[in-house]
Amino acid sequence: MTHTGAWGPLRNRAFAVVVSVNLASALAVFMNGLGGA
């Protein structure tokens, strides 16, 4: 099985977009929680 290193999957645009949006939304939720508190 070949692999492209730890950052390899980020070269795939669809994966990069989906993971970035997921993380950005998670970040926003954690920040919102703080603002709400």
Binding site: W7, A14, S25, A26, L27, A28, N32, G35, G36
Partner: protein
């Protein structure tokens, strides 16, 4: 504050199974876009109430619960889409990246929020988030997911949820993944729950040092991310999980005994690194053992076990720390983690190379025209003729078939042998609807093909045809004698 915690976490439990089924039944892109758009609306509502100063305790709790529910609805789908985005050879790296990113977001979110609140004021947190989430919705516009429903109508939500649970009951590799994550989650949560007290009372750290201590785990996780391709090449998934848990237990013992900040920072970095190696290994196996058609539901059950264990662990270790001492709580967690690591050793995660969940389309639905997709229940019968001396081999092969059909949604399955003619065996299974039967070939996987080959070896290449029969139900109003 406690009420807000409930508003954030409870939807995760209540909505998990619905969210998992939704992830498999509806268009996954539409689901995340809808959830993000909903989150934008809730965040704007937060921002407006905060800007105008008209927020009340009730409105904050309600909006937090709404945001918690939206997050819960999207949680399985974010994970379920990953295998469809990358090649199988990159899946493990993709899962590690996504896990490390999530740990980073958990650590950076409150810190970033704190900076915005300190510099611009609390209202700006919501406006910034509304912009970030809107950008997310727009960015997803460029994503073109592919799905293969085989031209069949979508499953009904309630039936899809039931099937998710049935799948877990009949899929041993998935059960092992879930059992492996429980002891890890139950114990590793202690560190998150007890770190603030440890920093304040044992290490006497101020706010800046607390930030450093919290960040040490993130640094460890990123370092482990770089090391993961090498670690995976040299160790089996089980060895990675066991070693990670034992190393984390050692780090917890250090934290229980030290008051030295550099030692504590090093121990926290090890804990962060080993959490990533263990969790990403279990998650990669989870993503590999689940075929695409059930992935959302499988992930949801895993998340339920993970979040449940986190919650229970936090309560238990919090109580232990309160009744004894912080040191005792850390030492007890370390012992529990080491015991957990050893206890799950006999359960083997399947090596990734052995699993192929590509649809195999093992059977062709019989050409029947007088039936609609929603008609059911339907019983399917096949008449086998085997050498009676081979009965044990046949039954063993059919047991694998039974398990595979149960995973694929069959309601019941049985074999019966003709009393007068040994070796004449009738196989019967029932599906809820004709559409469910047509979905079975799409749900069979390459890993199921071995069962198929065993049967071909026994009876030759022409397996008996499946004969569909409508299951007759007792009429609610019995016909009167004159009508009979």
């Amino acid at each position: 504050m406690a009420l807000l915690q409930v508003a954030v976490t409870v939807p995760g439990f209540v909505l998990a199974l619905i969210a998992g089924a939704l992830a498999d039944v509806v268009n996954r892109k539409r689901l995340v876009v809808t959830v993000l758009a909903g989150s934008v609306l809730v965040t704007v509502a937060f921002a407006v109430l905060s800007t105008t100063g008209s927020h009340t305790q009730v409105s904050v709790v309600l909006l937090t619960a709404a945001l918690g529910s939206l997050t819960a609805l999207a949680a399985p789908v974010w994970m379920a889409v990953i295998p469809g985005l990358v090649a199988k050879s990159e899946l493990a790296d993709a899962v590690s990246l996504s896990s490390a990113g999530m740990s980073g977001a958990m650590a950076a979110g409150p810190a970033l929020g704190g900076v915005i609140i300190a510099t611009l004021g609390p209202t700006w947190v919501f406006w910034v988030n509304a912009v970030v989430l809107t950008a997310g919705v727009l960015a997803l516009g460029t994503w073109r997911p592919v799905s293969d429903s085989g031209g069949l109508p979508p499953e009904h939500l309630a039936a899809a949820m039931r099937l998710g649970l049935q799948y877990v009951r009949h899929d041993r590799p998935l059960q092992i993944v879930i059992v492996k994550i429980v002891p890890l989650a139950l114990t590793s949560t202690a560190l998150i729950a007890l770190l603030p007290s440890l920093a304040r009372f044992r290490l006497e750290a101020g706010p800046a040092m607390f930030g450093l201590l919290s960040g040490a785990g993130g640094v460890g996780a990123v370092a482990a991310l770089f090391g993961m391709p090498t670690i995976r090449a040299r160790a089996t998934p089980d060895a990675i999980v066991t070693t990670s848990m034992l190393a984390q237990a050692a780090a917890l013992i250090l934290l229980a005994t030290t008051t030295n900040i550099p030692v504590a920072l090093a121990a926290l970095a090890v804990a962060g690194a080993t959490s990533l190696t263990a969790i990403s290994t279990v998650m990669t196996t989870l993503q590999t053992v689940l075929p695409a058609w059930i992935r959302g539901r499988g992930v949801a059950v895993y998340l339920l076990a993970l979040q449940g264990s986190f919650a229970v662990g936090a309560i238990v270790w919090g109580a232990v720390a309160e009744r004894t001492s912080l040191q005792t709580a850390f030492a007890a967690t370390a012992v529990a983690m080491a015991i957990g690591a050893v206890a799950v050793v006999p359960l083997r995660l399947r090596p990734l190379a052995d699993i192929d969940t590509t649809p195999a389309r093992l059977m062709d639905p019989p050409p029947v025209t007088s039936i609609h997709d929603d008609d059911g229940p339907i019983a399917l019968t096949a008449r086998w003729q085997i050498d009676p001396d081979q009965r044990a081999t046949f039954l063993s092969a059919m047991e694998h078939v039974r398990q595979a059909l149960k995973r694929q949604g069959v309601l019941n399955f049985h074999l019966a042998e003709d009393v007068e003619r040994p070796g004449h065996i009738t196989e019967t299974f029932t599906v809820a609807t004709w559409a469910e039967f047509k979905r079975l070939p799409l749900r069979s996987t390459r890993s199921d093909e071995a069962n198929h080959r065993d049967l071909v070896d026994l009876v030759g290449p022409d397996l008996p045809p499946l004969i569909p029969q409508r299951v007759l139900r007792r009429q609610t109003s019995m016909p009167s004698p004159s009508q009979r």
